[in-house]
């Protein structure tokens, strides 16, 4: 039986977005917003179609296929191909990236139309879509690479796009440099992580002699038996890369600041796709981690600690996007903990459903923000210090933006893990594997899940319920269809996402087992499901009870009174940024200052300057000889000749 195979189409998942960005680069600005936006969406949409065709081909031929495009680097024994690897794992990522990506592109057509006007530069409309397409292309390279080096190209490419898009309004933000600073922070923090990944790659090359996934993983068992220390180093340095890209402790600090980018960027890059690259990396290298239990423990604890830590911070934030950002960090912690426990499929499952509901939440938050912005303009006396993202300035928006409210509710419930929405199944699967193997991790994660439900309840209540607290919120209005349509589709996916890996059916489990190897299918434990569901309901209910009380105009968080200094800590993100500034940044700055002033200016510059001054002084004294009078030259010649002659005669 020979079915039609579409594997040869795989390079197009990269080339289509590249074509999209080239066209927009050349003519996007001239042909206007509708063209730029639709063309970029079309390019990503076609990439999605290609991904579907690949998935269809894989369903009849589940073995991994490698499509080489050409040799890339050939130095001595090192040969790196530019080759695309199509297997069940990479196709899942491709589907998420291009699928959610397409919806976010469509959303951006409407969102950026308002955003460029709100920020006062319509010329940047096409640029936004160029960056988005570039991001899709880089992300596709990342997930479809068949070797570590090519994957690293994508890894850096998405980092670059993240930088460009966080700093999209680079002249805005605090003191006019806030957004640029945020972009810089994201880039530099990621650089620290990339350093770890690079070291891991060097170690892989030295010990395996190749970058190819297949060959490396084939040899992994042997190398682990001979050099367990090397394997530990590889996995731990790789983890450093993961903490950078996937915003885990201790390198998560860039992600909240990354909210400076336009909201579709936060949804696409900083919630749904790029930040999951770290999870993908661990899943891809799960063979490594399975061989090094120590590394698994570290990964697991990093994930679990991040999940809880970020959830507590999310509790004390007032910015609608910051709450979601910390929630993203927390959920990424869940995924990392899952892949650390060896429950790779559960991690990937949560990655997919999280892409749906967190993408939805961010996009809906964008819709809320623009609704409030519109209300702000209607309110006329818009003051400059009004922040349309501050939840304290909202309230009662369910009446003004009914559709956004409904999809937001779905997203929030899915995130909180209410059955039968997508988040319930994926989070439950992670909790079950923790329950079975790591009781300590289970407790931490359940606590984090409870906090998740609580801060989502808090956010829902603050934003959508009660009475409008400002005039802007009162006059807020619903977004146009181009914005709400992707929201509805994502809401549908958030509801139905659980179908992907229903307990007992295990579609995703079977699908991924072709790449990750046969694993024990996750069981459905009623106790765990019950605990997580009850805790989620309690969290939501508690938040509703606390926050739905009527408050005065000067909004004080009700928890502040109850928790006191504990809440101040959450509000101030546990002073982690300040801590980093105190123990790393400031000493480093002082060191740089020391190297610049006493060392560079005092020593190095003086050596250079001294040489120059010495030469000049010497020249100054010698130039007297050059007096321009022929007679003196002649005299010197005569004396010189006489001296030579004398020497010749007398020797």
């Amino acid at each position: 039986m020979e079915t039609v195979q579409f594997f040869n189409l795989v390079p197009w998942v990269v080339f289509l977005p590249l074509i999209g960005l080239t066209v927009n680069l050349l003519v996007g600005r001239k042909l206007g917003e509708i063209f730029a936006g639709s063309f970029a969406s079309l390019a990503t949409g076609l990439a999605f179609v290609v991904s579907i065709l690949l998935a269809v081909s894989l369903s009849s031929h589940p073995e991994a296929v490698t499509i080489p495009l050409g040799d890339w680097i050939t130095i001595g024994t090192l040969t790196v191909r530019w080759a695309f690897r199509v297997d069940t794992l990479s196709v899942v990522m491709m589907l998420v990236v291009s699928g959610v990506g397409t919806l976010i592109h469509i959303y951006s057509i409407g969102y950026m139309h308002n955003d460029v006007r709100h920020n006062g530069d319509t010329g940047r409309y096409a640029r936004f879509f160029i960056f988005l397409n570039l991001f899709i292309a880089a992300m596709m390279i990342l997930v479809s690479a068949d070797n570590f080096l090519m994957m690293f190209v994508g890894w850096e490419g998405v980092g670059l796009c993240s930088y460009l898009l966080i700093g999209f309004w680079f002249e805005k933000g605090k003191n006019g440099t806030g957004n640029a600073e945020a972009a810089k922070k994201a880039f530099i923090t990621n650089r620290i992580g990339d350093f770890g990944l690079l070291i891991a790659m060097f170690l892989i090359f030295v010990n395996f002699g190749t970058f190819q996934f297949d060959e490396v993983f084939k040899q992994a068992g042997q190398v682990a038996a001979v050099k367990p220390g090397v394997m530990l180093l590889i996995t731990l340095f790789m983890l450093l890369g993961v903490t950078g890209k996937s915003a885990q402790l201790p390198l998560y600090v860039w992600l909240p600041d990354a909210m400076a980018g336009p909201t579709p960027v936060s949804a696409l890059i900083h919630a749904a796709t790029m930040v999951t690259a770290g999870v993908y990396l661990v899943a891809r290298s799960s063979i490594f981690y399975a061989l090094v239990p120590t590394a698994q423990t570290v990964v697991m604890w990093v994930g679990a600690a991040t999940a809880l830590f970020a959830a507590t911070i999310a509790l004390g934030q007032y910015d609608i996007k910051k709450v979601l950002a910390y929630s993203t960090i927390s959920q990424l912690g869940f995924m990392v903990a899952a892949v650390g426990m060896g429950a790779t499929v559960a991690g990937m499952f949560h990655l997919v459903t999280h892409a749906f509901f967190k993408g939805l939440l961010f996009l809906a938050a964008g819709s809320v923000i623009q609704g409030v912005e519109r209300g702000m303009h209607h309110a006329n006396h818009a003051s400059h210090d009004f922040d349309p993202q501050d939840m304290r300035q909202m309230g009662g928006l369910r009446k003004q933006t009914p559709l956004t409210f409904r999809v937001y509710l779905i997203g929030a419930l899915a995130l909180s893990g209410i059955a039968p929405l997508a988040g319930f199944f994926s989070k439950d699967e992670i909790l079950v594997s923790a329950w079975q193997t790591q009781p300590a991790i289970f407790i931490v994660l359940v606590l984090a899940a409870f906090l998740t439900a609580f801060y989502m309840g808090r956010q829902l209540t603050m934003v959508f319920f009660g009475e409008p607290r400002t005039e802007a919120a009162e006059k807020a209005s619903e977004s146009p269809l181009v914005v709400t349509l992707p929201l509805m589709i994502l809401a549908l996916l958030s509801v139905l996402g659980g179908v992907l890996n229903l307990p007992g059916v295990h579609t995703l489990e079977t699908w991924l087992s072709h790449t990750l190897g046969e694993g024990e299918p996750g069981h459905f434990v009623w106790v765990v499901a019950g605990i997580s569901l009850v805790l989620a309901l309690i969290g939501l209910g508690l938040a509703w009870m606390i926050y739905s009380r009527k408050t005065d105009k000067a909004y004080v968080d009700p928890l502040k009174r109850a928790l006191g200094s504990l809440f101040t800590g959450m509000e101030n993100k546990w002073w982690v940024d300040e801590l980093y500034a105190a123990i790393i940044l400031n000493p480093y700055r002082a060191f740089a200052q020391f190297m610049a002033d006493p060392v560079d200016l005092g020593v190095i510059d003086r050596i250079g300057g001294g040489l120059a001054a010495g030469t000049r002084a010497l020249a100054e004294s010698i130039r007297k000889l050059q007096n321009g009078y022929i007679r003196s030259y002649a005299l010197l010649m005569l004396l010189g000749l006489a001296a030579i002659m004398t020497y010749l005669f007398l020797r």
Binding site: R623, K624, L625, Q626, N627, G628, Y629, I630, R631, A634, L635, L638
Partner: protein, 100 residues
């Protein structure tokens, strides 16, 4: 036959006059003449020895020296004329543009 010392002493005297004149005079043409004086002192030494050893090489060489000197005079005088046109003087002490 005059002793060989006489023409040699004469050559030395001529040469020294050339050097002293070259170093002390200001007028470029006079300096030029001093140069010729030194050439001729050298020529005198050449033919003195040619005559003394009865070989022709020295005399041949004198002819070469005179030819080169003639060519050099042509160039030198041309330079002199140009310098006079620009500076309205051929005082060698005024030509110190190369002073460092």
């Amino acid at each position: 036959m005059i002793p060989i010392a006489y023409p040699l002493v004469l050559a030395v005297i001529l040469f020294c006059m050339g050097i002293v004149g070259f170093l002390l005079r200001k007028n470029a043409i006079v300096i030029f003449m001093c140069l010729e004086l030194m050439f001729n002192a050298a020529n005198l030494v050449f033919i003195t020895f040619a005559n003394h050893y009865q070989v022709i090489d020295g005399q041949v060489f004198v002819v070469f020296v005179m030819t080169v000197a003639a060519a050099e005079v042509a160039v030198g005088l041309a330079l002199m004329v140009t310098i006079f046109r620009t500076k309205q003087s051929i005082d060698i002490d005024q030509m110190n543009s190369l002073k460092g």
